[in-house]
């Protein structure tokens, strides 16, 4: 299971990376915005995407839309981990096809729960 973590703050990428490792996911890669992440995803080999929303270059929501629009990677499970808490934004992400939405600051438990849920649904 290879996971791509996308966030413009290196500390947040590191926290997510450590939490994922704690959950048994050791194979992770990082990108600092959507523009860097998209070619990595298109090159293939990723099973899961964890992305922030508010980033320079390409935002997380645009990355999500680009992923869903590319038939090669359209079914990739995507978890949004963001400080954006507006209802309209959560609805927008849902409409764009997000698989899970975690608001910052979050706990390890919440992350574990959302990831478990996403894979239950993907496996079903």
């Amino acid at each position: 299971m290879k996971i791509l973590i996308v966030d413009d703050f290196s500390t947040m990428r590191r926290i997510i990376k450590n939490l994922l490792r704690d959950l048994g996911f050791n194979n992770t890669a990082e990108a600092d915005d959507g523009q860097t992440a998209l070619p990595m995803l298109q090159a293939g080999g990723y099973d899961f995407l964890v992305t922030d929303w508010n980033m320079p270059g390409m935002t997380g929501i645009d990355l999500l839309k680009a992923v869903r629009a590319d038939e090669k990677i359209a079914t990739l499970p995507v978890l949004m981990v963001t400080a954006e808490q507006k209802r309209e934004q959560i609805v927008e992400a849902a409409q764009a096809g997000v698989n899970g939405y975690v608001v910052k600051p979050f706990t390890a438990e919440v992350l574990r729960e959302k990831i478990d849920k996403i894979f239950e649904r993907v496996d079903a």
Partner: protein, 250 residues
């Protein structure tokens, strides 16, 4: 009747008086009127000078206000930007330092935990007298090695915990920096309000609206919710996010 008309009227009255007195041959009275006239001219000159001085004083005051604004925009705002960047850098460093220590110590904890678990299992067998003498001798050596490892490990863990504690020292400094920036923003607000009042500028609502629209997509995002500041249309936490998503069929 304004000031100028009043002055003109007084001049005319006095000038007519002088002509009348001169024609009548009353030179003394005419001289007195000339004197009055010149005194009157001095008086209005002083009044004008006074007015100019007041205007100059007001201009100086508003210039001082502009100078404060110039200082704010030229020096203090860029300075504040740097200070805030510094806050980002400091907090980033601290987070990395803390996580670095944790990443170093976690494998050590896992190792000690495993060694302890293995020895406990053997010890329980020994207590049940389910152990050969040679096995027991090996166990004793393992226990000795484990105690040594544990001692060294504990010293390392304690050092690491201290490092984590010390990595939190950014809070004091960043707190002070942010407080100063808050003060600066308040100063700027006061200066701008004064300037608007003095200039009599009226904020055009429509214009303000169009400027807002020009902001880029990223700036429209609300960012982290700050306690005590209500943000319209925002959820208050993960539970509400989950409720909203499940109402959308998630």
């Amino acid at each position: 009747m304004d000031d100028n008309e009043l002055i003109a009227e007084s001049y005319l009255e006095k000038a007519r008086g002088i002509i009348t007195e001169v024609e009548a041959g009353n030179f003394e009275a005419a001289d007195k009127l000339v004197e009055d006239l010149s005194r009157f001219r001095d008086k209005s000159l002083f009044q004008e000078l006074g007015k100019l001085t007041r205007e100059f004083h007001d201009s100086l005051n508003s210039f001082r206000l502009d100078a404060r604004l110039a200082e704010l925009t030229d020096i203090e705002i860029p300075d504040a930007r740097e200070r805030l960047q510094h806050v980002i850098n400091m907090t980033e460093q601290s987070a990395h330092k803390t996580m670095g220590v944790i990443e170093d110590l976690l494998p050590l904890c896992e190792d000690l935990d495993k060694q302890g678990g293995d020895i406990l299992e053997l010890w329980r067998r020994f207590m049940k007298r389910d152990m050969e003498p040679q096995e027991f001798r090996d166990l004793c050596k393992e226990i000795e090695a484990f105690l040594g490892d544990q001692h060294g490990g504990t010293v390392k863990i304690r050092g690491g915990l201290n490092d984590i504690m010390m990595a939190q020292d950014f809070q004091d400094i960043t707190g002070q920096i942010i407080s100063r920036v808050i003060t600066l923003v308040s100063d700027l607000e006061v200066s701008l309000v004064k300037l608007i009042r003095e200039g009599g500028a009226i904020m055009d609502e429509a214009q303000a609206g169009s400027t807002r629209k020009e902001q880029d997509e990223r700036a429209k995002l609300d960012g982290p919710q700050v306690p005590g500041i209500d943000s319209e249309g925002a959820v208050s936490g993960q539970d509400e996010v989950d409720d909203l998503l499940s109402s959308l069929g998630f």
